[in-house]
């Protein structure tokens, strides 16, 4: 019974993890400029990675390797937004203008 619950919990976590990573990939491909892409890159991807890592931790159960997985989870959650911030900041520093609805109407694609 417990095994069965654990199995399905793992399936659900992995499914959602894949879904959010897919959203992140779609976002990076579809969105119009670097700032907008950074949104999905940092957020949907972090959540996707987090869910997948949680599934791994659940599968490994009560053993030493789980500690590493949890550490990895925390590490990803702290560093990913910072990395996205660093990239967005560097884009702002190099003077890339953000895409807006108006700029699209003017036919300007950035």
């Amino acid at each position: 019974m417990i095994e069965s619950i654990r199995f399905w919990a793992i399936i659900v976590l992995i499914a959602f993890g894949l879904f959010f990573t897919f959203v992140s990939a779609m976002g990076v491909l579809r969105l119009p400029d670097v700032y907008a892409r950074a949104h999905t890159a940092s957020q949907a991807d972090t959540l996707g990675a987090g869910l997948a890592l949680a599934a791994v931790a659940l599968a490994l159960g009560w053993q030493h390797a789980t500690v590493y997985t949890v550490l990895l989870l925390f590490f990803v959650f702290i560093t990913n937004p910072t990395a996205a911030h660093a990239i967005a900041r560097s884009a702002a520093e190099s003077g890339i203008d953000p895409w807006t609805k108006e700029s699209e109407e003017e036919g300007e694609t950035k």
């Binding site: 702290i78 560093t79 910072t82 911030h85 660093a86 702002a92």
Partner: protein
Amino acid sequence: MSQTDSYDDTYTESQVIMTTVKIIAPFTLTYGMFMSLHGADTPGGSFQGGAIIGVTVLMLAFAFGIEPTRQWLKNSFVVGLVTGGVTIFIATGLATMALGGNFLEYDAFSETFGIAHYWGMEAIEVGGVALIVAGVVITLFFATAAGFTPERRSRGTDSLDREVSDDD
């Protein structure tokens, strides 16, 4: 206030990046040393451990700027790291030879002192590989950063001084 006004024209280190680095630096350093010390019995190996120790310093340098980091980590300390590593490496090797084995043949230790093969490996892993790798990573980085171009280096000193005083 317009956008150009708020994006000030002096480059300052980002507080967000600095604080993240501040928080994760102790953990990565601990982890790097852990890997170096367990290099003999886990597949991670102390090469990676040394690399992580070096990377921790690089991370601080990226977040705070090179000059403050260079002042924090004296050059002599880094050189000491490398020479210490090489010394331990060679000393372990020669010790095995002195005991009648080949260079780095750890079995000589267990025959003479009755200690496990493991400890010779440990000495090489920690003393030799980890220290050398960490030292070389840091030295190469600072050397590359310092010798960017001679002209920029001299021009940069005064702005770097200001950077030191502006940053935390």
